[in-house]
């Protein structure tokens, strides 16, 4: 699959057809940032104060795999969490009804 195909799928799914490419890029790019922020917040919301401290400690160790394992253990529904945040973002920002 080429980048162009990915682009076409995404543009269609988001209903951005007809917009200038610059605007499409800007909207999709900004959405990505918002989703990342929302997902981060959602992760924190899932953690207890003690787990947040543990999370801080692990992230300080610079080991992505450790973080992955931590999230797997403490946020087992990571996939649905992300789905929720994406849907929330798209709805909040009136991009996709």
């Amino acid at each position: 699959m080429e980048n162009q195909e990915l682009r076409e799928v995404l543009i269609k799914e988001l209903g951005l057809e007809g917009l200038p490419p610059e605007a499409q890029d800007e909207i999709v790019g900004k959405l990505g940032e918002i989703i990342l922020k929302s997902t981060t917040i959602a992760i924190y919301e899932k953690l207890s104060p003690g787990e947040r401290a543990e999370f801080d400690r692990i992230t300080a160790e610079n080991e992505p795999e450790l973080i992955g394992r931590f999230l797997e253990e403490h946020v087992p529904d990571m996939q649905s969490l992300m789905e929720t945040e994406v849907k929330r973002t798209l709805q909040d920002f009136n991009i996709k009804e």
Binding site: K37, P64, N94
Partner: protein, 844 residues
Amino acid sequence: MNNLEKQLIGAARNADAQGESSIGAQLMSKLSKGQGDSQLRTEGIKQELGLSSPAPVATEEITEKIIKKATLPNKNGRNHRGNGAKANPLVLAEAIKSADATNEAGDRAKIVSVFNKEKLAIEKEVAETSARIQEAQKAGQTDVAKNWAIRHKKAADILEMFASVADVIDSESGKTVWGNLQRYSKARHEQAQSDLKERGLEKMEEDFNLDFTTQTPGEGVALLDRTIPTLTDVVESEVSADIKQESPAESVDAIEPLEEAATVENISSVEKETPEEKKERMLKAIYNPEKQSAIEARAEKAAVPKELLRGIGERWNKVPLGYKFAISGALILTGAGLGASAAIPVATVGGIMRALGMAGLYTATDEKLRTAVENKTGDPRTTAEKSRHQKLAISLAVVVGLCLPRVLHDSVLNPLVDFAHSPHDSISSGSSLPPLETPAHTTAPITENLVSAGSFIEIAKPGDSIWKMAEAQLSAHGSLAGLSPEQQTYLIDSVKDQITEHPDQFGITDINTIQVGQGVDFEIILNDKEFMDNAIASAKGLAPEEVASIANYENAPVYETEGYIENGQAEPLTTPESNILENNTIKVDGTTGTFIKAADGTITGFVTNGELVYPQTIEAQKILNDGWRGVVLSNATGESSLNTSVVENRAFAIYQHEQILHALDQHGGQFSKEADFIRDQISSMVADTENTFGDVFKDPTEVYPSGLVETTEATPATNTAPQEVSSTDPEIIKVADQQFHTRVTDVLGSKGLLGFGAVDGTTTSDWKNPEFGFANKTVEEIMNAKPIVLPGDAPTIGINNPSKLHEMQDYFRKVFIETGTNLDKGDTAETYLKRASMLSALHK
């Protein structure tokens, strides 16, 4: 006043204007049991209804209520946090007017005080947001500047509203008069009423088979005689909801000019909106300060460290645009459960993971998902499953990589590439995305990470070939076990042939254009049991003469056997040994250097071409002093991000020169005229750069091996233009001229459709206007210019055209990075672009 009464008055007012008796009057007549006067005008109806009362009394309680409402915090909060009180000048003006009507001097003074206080606050905010925009622009934070610009616009709008209603307080009489805004608002409500009335009357006509337009008053009454028993119900039921929404009394308070567009927008208008309107709506939505504030509030509630959230934005800004799109795509398509079969291009996956240093996490996640499915079904995962797994793995890796700044080192995401690769270049054309630097803390090469976890994706690294990559994959998956070297060669070649024939199935377009950092996905072939069984069987069944033939290749020099075996010929490699000064061109590790020579052999120029990739980028930066960014910021004027980019780019150019010099040295060319020329260029570049930006480079003896460069301190050179190149070749001049016109047209003109409607950018006012056109403006002037709002009839062309200015600034950054054309002092847009075009033409 009930809704029907409002309807009647509205109808009567309309008829007043036309000097005719109205349907409202007729209705009034009928409602008053035939005793009313069908010739009544609005005032008459009001009196009949008992509504001709004087202006409402502004008691102190009402005044307080008005003030409170006018300053009530709401979703259009005006301060930069989005939670401040929002002044509503219109409401305040109405309150003053109301106080005038009741001669309540105390109330009036109180409201005027609030009015002035709010106006001052808004003025302050306009100044503050303007300063923030400049700060962000100076720091190169484009998105931050954009957000401030939105808030600035909002504050400026409110300030304009204050100005519009300022004449509500007449300086001579001290009384209130209608302000522009009030007149506007009144007109809006009347229009809304008119529309509503039309809908209501149309409904009545439809339901009761009436035609009000053709009825005389008498006929109208006769008609109403038949319909009046249910008329009131109809109007109430069909129109009341709308009237409630748009009645004058309520809308004056509720409709705020800033929200007007959103308020009047309805479903049908969205459906009919033009692309431009759609764009505006969507951009407005994603940059809505209220939404941003909501995210911040949510983060605060969840105790997310502020620096963490801010860091996400900052790091996101550094992600190359092409990657941004792919990352967003992975997040959105996965999270929203959309585009199940849409896969992220393998090359892009490699690039993103490489950029984030998240290869390990990505691979572990992908493999876990793959294993789970395959263990469950007993079959290889389907394409759709693979696509979904891939996106999930990317999403998790990206969340970890970008949301946890302490995991990453700042050097991971090089902002330079943001300029170099526009999203359209990298995405639309399907070209490979820029390889980025690997983070300092990631010690294991990405390829090892991927292969060790059993991945089928092989990421190209410097010196790689499709042959080597295939060998690595076959080895990692145990396919070479038990085969002789010749048999292994045969098997690797079989796999390579498959990729050559169907590159698209492996995530690439051409095996000859694979770039460092790009990924090749071997899953489809290594999981093809039939193919692999046949290929291995063929390898094992090679005839002795075939084995001998292959062995001959293996005994050839290293650089030949490592190439692609194709028709018995070794393809050239990109090692220094295989390409040294051929036709005045030398190729070294991805860099091509070309000497430009006069007819007598004198070297007149030397240009380099080629993109630096990791680890070259890291090596190149080593020639810069520690703290060089601070030196640049303290010494140079102009846009800081551009300045640092200039210095970094010069460092890269010097590094490329040094590499070529090193290659010449290895081939005995250390004292050649070519080597001398390159040394001179390095000295000139160092001097030229440090003259402008300060002492940014380390001493040459600290950096370069002895003998490669002159060890004397570089002498500052004046009037030195290392890339000042020209040509007398008519063909090159023609190509350069075409490129120049194309470049200007890219920004200011139009290519039209199939040539129709094309506009050469150099013919536009934005380019050639003597006063404002870009052509004669210096690049420095353009890059430092800020978008301004011009008063009155000032022409918005060229440098005064905010959107074109922004595009031109972006374009200069792009040209600068793409062509490496240095900026000489006093360069105008025209001279710079022409030189860049000439350089490109010479490269070609």
